[in-house]
Symmetry: C2
């Protein structure tokens, strides 16, 4: 138990210092390492396997809605980035510039893509001619670069991995429908696969994407009561189409501008998984996203039959579709338990000589710590059911956390008191005036997270200025 303690002692407790806890987990669970380039990450096997599972799940969902994958260049010429005014203003201050190719200076600077709207538009103007060419439903998986001043693993890094979908439609309605469809897809994915409940809503103009007519978001609540913007879907109207000249002939042979959307989810969501589910023993992964769902730890592996039994159970569970591994290193069982907990593997199976004699093994749930005896007979069914239960219970626990950390404020005193003293979301009315958003941010550092689809009438007046208000907003401090 000394070893077990030691591994855990190396993690700062959540209550003591949440930020340090997060950094400790990211390192101790071997998700990333820092790279020589400031603000860039080395994503290690355990972290990348998580991303691969996220990719596989999301990609299948995208394709089921008709999306096709493509790959656009890494570089955007400066003149191309400048074509849409709002967009360039939003991104130019934080891009990395390539000025030399080989030994020679370039004639025009190229930025490393911070996002690829301009590249997709430049392509769409060449390939969209007729209504028959629509819709275009393209997506790409890639890395993007934003030269951030302060960085944190997964949450804010100078380079991160993501997918960016870019679609072009014949009508405003089609584009708006796709914008909401993808937001819903992200929300379903977060709840069903990551066990992360989210609030769906629309961003205020202050918070929307550079160049968008409307930005929709899913907002998740972390364990420390801070919000994480977890995925966004943007409706562009025909703004980019006009800037880039993307037109098609409709069925009456009239030239029309296309209507566009874009939507993205990134490795940032891995930060969300850590901060929604993790605890002082480490990472806690929902079974549906966990690269390893069950770790078999043989007890007294040197005793006759133990290793054989471990392998037999491993094969049995593998055949039942469980992602299973055996820890056969020469470490002590206590240390292996701690490692499995640190890495967030949802289930542990302990099997030793006495268990084998009794025809059973011990299963330990990572989410609750509960120990269960399970007979070898029907083990695969038991494990499969238990993984489903853990998945459901983790979502319920996360939902309960959101419920107990969501408050309502009717006036500004109450609002400031809650925002400053009760970590979580505060629901309050807003008049729609940017000045109130600015004041709230200045007074409290909180921002409007979204105007949720599910509206509720908290009061008749704006929580900030007292003028009539009919929009309910989720406010919170955010990552």
């Amino acid at each position: 138990m000394a070893e077990q303690k030691k591994l855990v002692e190396e993690i700062t407790s959540m209550e003591e210092d949440f930020a340090q806890w997060y950094t400790d987990i990211v390192k101790k669970a071997e998700l990333i390492d820092y790279a020589t380039v400031k603000g860039c990450m080395v994503i290690k096997p355990a972290g990348y396997a998580l991303w691969e599972n996220i990719q596989r799940e999301l990609d299948a969902r995208f394709k089921a809605t008709g999306v096709e994958n493509v790959y656009m260049p890494l570089f955007i010429p400066e003149s191309l980035l400048q074509k849409e005014k709002d967009h360039v203003e939003g991104f130019a201050p934080e891009v990395a510039w390539v000025t030399h190719g080989g030994l020679e200076p370039l004639q025009e600077r190229l930025c490393v893509r911070p996002t690829s709207e301009t590249l997709f538009c430049d392509h769409y103007k060449d390939v969209i001619h007729s209504w028959r060419d629509l819709p275009k439903l393209y997506n790409q998986w890639c890395s993007v670069v934003r030269w951030e001043k302060t960085t944190r693993p997964f949450l804010r890094s100078r380079e991160f991995l993501w997918q960016e979908g870019h679609t072009a439609h014949a009508t405003k309605e089609d584009a708006e429908e796709r914008t909401i469809q993808m937001l819903n897809l992200y929300a379903d994915f977060c709840e069903e696969v990551l066990a992360i409940p989210v609030i769906k809503g629309r961003k205020t103009d202050k918070e929307k994407f550079a160049g968008a007519e409307a930005t929709y978001t899913i907002e998740a609540l972390m364990h420390d009561g801070k919000a994480l913007q977890s995925g966004t879907s943007h409706y562009f109207g025909d703004g980019f189409a006009r800037a880039f000249g993307i037109q098609y002939s409709d069925k009456d042979n009239q030239l029309q501008y296309v209507h566009q959307t874009s939507w993205g989810m990134s490795t940032r969501i891995i930060g969300g998984i850590i901060m929604v589910h993790g605890d002082d023993s480490g990472l806690k992964l929902p079974p549906r996203i966990a690269p390893t769902q069950l770790m078999i730890i043989p007890i007294a592996a040197n005793k006759e039959g133990v290793t054989e039994k471990a392998h037999e159970l491993c094969d049995l569970l593998k055949a039942a579709g469980v992602r299973v591994k055996i820890d056969e290193t020469d470490k002590r069982p206590g240390f292996k338990f701690s490692e499995q907990e640190m890495r967030g593997i949802p289930l542990r199976l302990e099997v030793g000589p006495k268990d084998i004699e009794a025809g059973k093994c011990v299963l330990v749930r990572r989410d609750t710590g509960e120990k269960l005896e399970a007979s070898f007979e029907g083990l695969e069914q038991k494990v499969t059911e238990l993984l489903d239960t853990i998945q459901t219970d983790m979502l319920e626990a996360a939902r309960a956390h959101v419920a107990t950390h969501t408050y309502k404020a009717k006036d500004y005193d109450e609002f400031c008191d809650l925002i400053n003293n009760k970590p979580g979301f505060v629901k309050a009315m807003w008049c729609g005036d940017r000045a109130c958003e600015d004041k709230i941010k200045e007074d409290t550092t909180a921002t409007s997270r979204c105007m949720p689809f599910e509206q509720e009438k908290i009061a008749d007046v704006c929580v900030c200025c007292g003028k009539p208000a009919n929009k309910m907003v989720y406010w919170g401090k955010a990552y």
Copy 2:
């Protein structure tokens, strides 16, 4: 038929101008589009779907040998690139340099990775301490940038997609074994999945990778008789380990340097698929890599029951695991036939009112043009078998092409005559002297492709200088 002719007429014939034929296919089969940035590609859905299939197949084969995926940063600080002398000399002249982040100049220039040996080594020196940490078997899927002067879609572009595996081992023997294991993996993948036969061998010192002790290669022969280096596997010895200080304590507690390998395959191989299999009607994809294996084309789709039957067959084939689509556009059948041929879809299924009455449909093979009647009864089995047959026949056809385009030369006159007049490989003896390689390149533009594992004694003396020689080399003009 006029429309059909038109589509095909837009392609230059292979005999007339192979380079133009290649460019036409790449565009007409909608694999890529040119981007605004010179030398960069927009990989379109049909091209990217091919890459996804290549990724899926290779990735599964890598993982079966214990490889884990990771992600390293896009940028390499100049000082890090310079750590291994041969390596930096090889790559520095062709990298893109980032000099500004946001509005400020960087303190140190960063190059956009042309390959990531230096990043992996920088990471390995931090995470490898003990013999227990070995081997490290890492791979990453990413894009890399090399500032090439002349570019061609897939074959040579400034940015391309690839995977790069980087491994670290306790011993020279382990590293050498992994180097050959991965070369064999690439060769098997090319033959089994892409139906591309390859020559396996070792590169001469002149042609090896910058920083490697030995480079192994698989070389494929294109339809025009030129060679394509299709995948490489490098053995580094402890050169990088010494430059970066990657050491581990062995079981006797002695510090040792690790031995390393790297190996890669890129989107270049898509150029190989085009040039090995394509013909004057377009692309020709082996079934195992084809994103769509069978295209159903309804004839007289307006007649009762035709569309329904097409969908019924589609569902039936899908359930049998066939990647199938229906062309339901309002184009004429002849045009659809040409499109399916242009895109290289291995099988076409034609079904019209008369067929339905007779309880059968027509299958047309893309590789041979052969038409076969097939009854609806047992269609899924027939199609599955036919796809296997096409796969086998395409590999056999490609093998026959290599066999009839591989020559032997005993003396220099014969060698030059063959190299200049008979497109293909020329097998000839080499003394091992770089001067002979240089002379051959200067006289003929041909290069040594590899010293094949399967050696053969063509003569006793070097084909160039006449001195005693015991190495047989494959020579050829290459992409």
